[in-house]
Symmetry: none
Subunit: 204 residues, 4 copies
DNA sequence: CATGAATGAGAGTTCATTCAT
DNA sequence: AATGAATGAACTCTCATTCAT
């Protein structure tokens, strides 16, 4: 009884451990070839014990994805809500996108490579939906920043969502290259190129 | 001998049919949930017969991907080799990217959602490798166009690969949005926005 | 010592509670789909605690059956030992059979539907054996009543066990119908029909 | 192509073999403790092969039950439709009930002991429903015979269904005893007792 | 060539039982 | 005494691949 709180905390902690190790396994072997045995073995518990914390392999997978996405969303929201000018926000957005990529290389990879055929197409739909929603949310935050920029007369008065989309695309592509080339070198030059090209265009 | 040639032609034709139907099946159900039975049934032949044309499910899958990518590469190469100025090429590149998306919606989707866990990770590595190589090749072609533009003094003399990467990113993002929103309406406005923003930037 | 007695009484009482709740659970979900968790939850104690009172799920099940059967046997014995004539006893036998059914609908159902595959077939044999023995004992009691009837010259001097068997069969069948049709209406007419048909036959 | 008919016949035959062997296994070990491995091993084929003929363990089980019940129903219908008097029909009904029991000892046992908790309660409901319906149908056929007897003025003009129920109960009980005691000795005396007691009653 | 019945190695999931606390 | 997290063996069902016909 006294222990209830402690136990609950312990439970949460264990859940986190399962999430963390499962994420590693999924990243290494993908969803379908990661067996519950693999995951349990990686954690060092029995297969049955995994089911104490997650009702199914799919839920476990989904929770990993969700956890990862939540972190990113939080990050973006913080930037939007800062009390700075548009330019600073854009700069930070670019920086943070790279930081997030660096810290979540595995998750990004997992997400990019995510399988469409999870056991029930229902789940896949959800996952797919989550991904799209996440992308949209990310675009929305960026759009908010752009809108601020237009108001501040820093940016042209074109459809802000399109601008956000374009910027997002550029960033994504650089991130992808960075990921595939497993660069760990400084990305400063890339970042300033992105900003420059985005603001000034590339026409001579 | 004459028969042999006929038979060979028949064989090639059948192979194509298998590829085409398997592509449909994979697109609809994904790799893991598409069974050899599904594929055979879709074609209207026996399961064993599929194995006459492809040694394994994975090879069949890989060949579909490869075939799809080859088409895209051909398209890009053609643009590069055209005898026109840089601007026209860029315009066509943008247009063709959307056309390709429209014509290969299923393949793009399949590719975007591709599973990482093919039966042996060897194959997955190859597939992954293929995807990256394809992206790189696509960037290369675009870089060639950009280089021409720099030479023609249309574009700024910045690292052409970076410019190519940026343009490619913008296009990808608009394509993704178009795909997820299943737009079939005219994309003309999007295309001109991309071109404009890319060339002139968005700074006020 | 005093404590010991108290504790023992408490223990017996708890045992009864476990038996009673487990019976409900088994009746609702059957043996295999009733988990020890279900049972523990129904009682409001921990799973481990159930094992303090019963060494295994099967023993728990067996004890429920046994308890139920013992009740029925007691009832029959009482009728036999009453100081009344055969006819009254038969009437009461019929009545009590219906009363027992009414009060133990769940147990009867559970017993009728009892699974043969308890974890070890040994136990099943025992259970099966218990059921047969119970049936036999019931027939024996009824036979005793019939014998009395023969002696009292109320009944024909035919093999009393056969007569008992026949009567028992008729009663069972009416009980089954009553159970399946979930009748709760008065069964008086049924009872008098049974008695009449049994004594006088149905020949015109 | 030519072989299609042959193949189909072979398939049907195999199905029958699976049914027959599965019935043996189920009878011996019950539903839950009969594994698909057990069944496959009993037939001498692989586990997967069983699934070529039956989509699930439950369907296999249900089909066994259904096959058995169909046989019995046919038998009863034939008796009812015969062009004989009521008495002959009743006699034959009694005889055939014993014959059926003798030929389907295992099925009867399986049915009597059938588990309530098949994997989904839906199936159990169906099975239960089938059993009740079968019982009712059997009563109906017998009721038809009784009705004929009333018309022929052989039997008293009481509710024919009740009479049928009573007769059925007597027969069942004698069958149960025969089964449990594994009697194989002649049952002639039992049969004539049943008839006598049923028609004339047991009152002295 | 073509077939499709047969294989057999797993996969995810459940749950009676145990035992450290 | 009481708990409930952990175990691990067992289960049903799947499907890529083979091979006798």
């Amino acid at each position: 009884m006294k222990m209830k709180g402690f136990k609950k905390k312990e439970m949460v902690w264990r859940r986190q451990e399962v999430l963390a190790m499962a994420r590693k396994v999924f990243t290494k072997k993908g969803f379908h070839h990661s067996t519950m045995d693999d995951i349990a073995a990686a954690i060092g518990i029995s297969k049955g014990a995994v089911y104490l914390y997650f009702p199914s392999k799919e839920k476990l997978f989904m929770d990993i994805i969700e956890q990862g996405l939540r972190g990113r969303t939080e990050m973006l929201k913080e930037i939007v809500n800062k009390n700075t000018d548009c330019l600073s926000k854009i700069k930070e957005y670019i920086s943070q996108a790279f930081v997030y990529m660096e810290n979540n290389r595995d998750l990004v990879q997992m997400f990019m490579m995510v399988e469409r055929d999870l056991v029930c197409s229902d789940l896949h739909q959800k996952l797919h939906g989550q991904a799209i929603k996440e992308m949209e949310r990310s675009i929305e935050y960026l759009t908010a920043i752009i809108r601020q920029g237009v108001k501040e007369r820093l940016l042209k008065d074109i459809d802000p969502e399109n601008i956000a989309l374009g910027l997002s695309g550029i960033i994504q592509m650089f991130i992808m290259r960075a990921m595939f080339q497993k660069m760990t070198k400084s990305l400063e030059k890339e970042k300033s190129f992105i900003l420059e090209a985005f603001l000034e265009g590339v026409k001579a």
